[in-house]
Symmetry: C2
Subunit: 146 residues, 2 copies
């Protein structure tokens, strides 16, 4: 094997898998009218409502200049409210609306449907979990050095 190309060989599969997985999410998310990044924001807020823009960006490892317009679109959809904090007027606090909260019920089936969609018989659950753990280890490293 050509060791020189190891980096390319390891990085392309991550990039390709990411897009393929998001493609699998899409039909499920279409039914409730949101995108994958919007779904991620909802996951974060369902777990801890009322976060600042920066905290959401940090959770999702995204830049704030990606998250700000994303949240504006979600505000237009009626999923969240964006209200400037009174204690610190630099911060904008993002809260779920009733619609945004209630969408959790509609989305409850998605992780289960997804696992059925994306988990091949050849790849056992333990293998996926092992890969998840290795990726998270890797992400922590990349975040520290970035």
């Amino acid at each position: 094997m050509d060791q020189l190309k190891l980096a390319n060989q390891i990085c392309f599969p991550v990039y390709a898998a990411s897009r393929l997985i998001i493609r699998e999410y899409q039909p499920h998310l279409d039914k409730i009218g949101i995108t994958y990044p919007q779904y991620l924001v909802l996951l974060v807020l369902w777990e801890n409502d009322g976060m600042a823009v920066n905290d959401i960006a940090h959770k999702l490892i995204l830049n704030t200049n990606t998250v700000t317009p994303l949240l504006k679109r979600m505000e237009t959809l009626g999923l969240v409210s964006r209200i400037r904090s009174e204690e610190d007027e630099r911060k904008v606090i993002v809260r779920l609306t009733a619609k945004g909260s209630e969408m959790k019920v509609e989305a409850a089936h998605i992780p289960f449907s997804l696992m059925a969609d994306i988990s091949p018989d050849e790849l056992k659950m333990e293998e996926l979990l092992a890969m998840k753990n290795k990726l998270e280890e890797w992400i922590e490293f990349l975040k520290r050095k970035g």
Copy 2:
């Protein structure tokens, strides 16, 4: 266990890792003036010059409506030529220009630099290779069903 928690999602680490890795490529690619998807197209053409748009898209698991404008930008940069095939006038054959070919020399160091950047001591080479193999197995499954 709450399935709707970010930490419990298997797909988010793949999505996040993909972006973090591309961020690591960026400074290296900036030096030669291309983006990560453009670099992938060059990798494909360096290996097999003179491919149709569709074949490049298939190799990169991208839609042609992503690849067409990508190739047009690369044509503007003087990296490739796009010439309609004479045997089959539906096809557009993409070939490296002299500049595109020669860029292989400038890019030769990137896989080395990248491995130094992205490979933490905690994650051994064999573990990265094992993850690569699992991801490729997964990708094959997702491609088949998509």
